[in-house]
Chain length 337, copies 2
């Protein structure tokens, strides 16, 4: 490895901060002896400011810490990709941490990343973070973006979608196709704002004078297997003709459940999903779903964060990301009986 400021620190006994300032031409408050020692040692060791050393001097590391709940979920890996593409194009790299939805681990990772002197953080979290996490971030003046379903009240830097609107949109598509018995697969309370999507579904049904049965609502894990189990239960106990599945991972399981019960999509059952993961257009039938701009959410978070790093006094903007219904083959018009 090339010679770093650390090596100079070890050799001279002068602190890294001091050396950084001296080498960066901001060392006038230090004694001439110290300055000479540092310059001489840098010369003796053939110190060359490389990419990282340069960053140490400018007090920037050009790395961003990013914490996500579950990296194996294509939703989050897309979000990471969006952030990463933007950051890489601007010479920043990501140190990625997987919290497994665990709030203790999130707190530890924030601390860990701060110890490693990242320039800023993007935290996608389903949890309320410990208050000392915010104290740390504020004390160190580290900009951060929360992708947190607006669980923490902040005046600035909120990047979000309207989940109520999304739930309404999915349900309205099914109503427009003449369905009146419309089920919904929800999930336990986690990162996804499923509660508001459920309210959107209910709001839409009420608006159209459809009185929903509570038996039409089934909860499951936010996985393929969770979607499979919940859909199977729902289809075995109700006579719905349409189904809103609140995330696309669960739709994969819903398709299998229908197949095993001899129920054909969309002839016997129309399905609308949520997210629009890559797989949606490869499924048979292709999936009608509410598209979240997942990649753009990650990208926008990165963009806002870099702006905050470069303009520390400026307030960050808030941004509502647009949702869009992508109509494919999985939902069809109910023929009059």
């Amino acid at each position: 490895m090339g010679v770093t400021i650390r090596d100079i620190a070890e050799k001279t006994g002068v602190s890294i901060t001091t050396i950084s300032q001296i080498l960066n031409g901001k060392g006038s408050r230090f004694s001439e002896a110290t300055r000479n020692k540092v310059f001489q040692t840098a010369k003796d060791l053939a110190y060359k400011p490389n990419f990282f050393a340069k960053n140490m001097v400018t007090n920037q590391t050009n790395t961003i810490g990013m914490i996500v709940p579950e990296v194996t979920d294509p939703f989050f890996s897309q979000m990471v990709k969006g952030a990463e593409d933007y950051l890489n194009a601007h010479d920043y790299m990501i140190l990625l941490c997987n919290s497994s939805q665990d709030s203790t681990r999130e707190d530890l990772y924030v601390e860990e990343l701060l110890h490693r002197a990242v320039d800023g953080l993007i935290i996608a979290s389903p949890n309320i973070l410990a208050s000392n996490v915010f104290t740390q971030l504020e004390t160190l003046h580290k900009p951060y973006i929360l992708l947190d379903r607006k669980r923490h009240h902040r005046e600035e830097g909120n990047i979000f979608i309207d989940d109520y609107e999304g739930g309404y949109m999915a349900t309205e598509h099914l109503v427009a196709l003449r369905h009146t018995k419309i089920g919904i697969i929800t999930s336990d309370d986690s990162f996804y704002s499923v509660e508001e999507r459920l309210q959107g579904y209910q709001g839409c049904l009420t608006k159209h004078g459809i009185s929903a049965s509570t038996t039409w609502i089934m909860e499951g894990d936010q996985t393929m297997s969770g979607g499979y189990i919940a859909t199977k239960k729902l289809l075995e106990t109700t006579d719905i003709t349409a189904l809103f599945v609140t995330n696309d991972q669960m739709v994969v399981g819903a398709y299998r459940a229908a197949l095993e019960l001899g129920i054909t999509i969309p002839e016997d059952l129309s399905i609308v999903g949520f997210d629009d993961i890559e797989l949606a257009e490869y499924m048979a039938p292709t999936l009608t779903t509410v598209r979240q701009p997942i990649y753009d959410i990650g990208k926008t978070a990165a963009e806002y964060l870099l702006r905050a790093i470069q303009n520390p006094t400026e307030k960050m903007a808030n941004k509502k990301m647009p949702l869009k219904l992508i109509v494919r083959e999985s939902a069809k018009r109910l023929e009059a009986e």
Copy 2:
């Protein structure tokens, strides 16, 4: 944030290394004045060795750097999961880096992670790493595991599968089902050891006296869309009855290509995949595929790495991970005509 060794370093002007040694009771070679100054400052600042400070003292950070080519690929996110579960259970955390298959970025990330004092590295790479990367790793005595298709010759710590055997296994299953016109979807040379899988396919056909046509081989990108395009081309130009697709992501596209051409799986075309991603058992028909123990590869890498960190003088073992044909519905016996 709690008081850290860094704060003591700033206050005293004594280097972090020195303070660590003094607080860790290994400071006898430093002057009594220095030792007193450090202890007094630690007391003044109400310094408490917390998780991370403790690690700085013991010269361990309990973090592992992991570099993967593409985090959005379910193959790698499974691998990360395996490593992470093992490491978390042993109080280690992962800093994850996505190289996007880019070798310059890999080199930068290694440097970056070393600057951040990780205890060891797991590097999943399709590339030949720059030789100075190894110099750095060796100089700093940082243990590392390469998941690299054995591209670098190392005597120890090789965790691998036999891709030739896997390709042979997939093809033999199709031959046993009486197929003689068997195509293969390969991909550009990247992380996956597709070349050896192709050789396994060819070796198996030769063994059974089947002379393969070069028109049966089609290359594509290792994505759903790559699989779709390659399969479509292949099915439009040949009369194969079976197909070995060398990774499961591409199978998703292959299914769609067959569907659009009115070719039914497995009645008109038998398919065998490679990897056994989670989706494989949800597809319609469910996918017969060669299972790679992806999760276990990550887990084993983590296990070997921790062992190397704890026993720096011991040589790491090599381990060949087992492959297994998972028979589901996508390949069926060819009826005599």
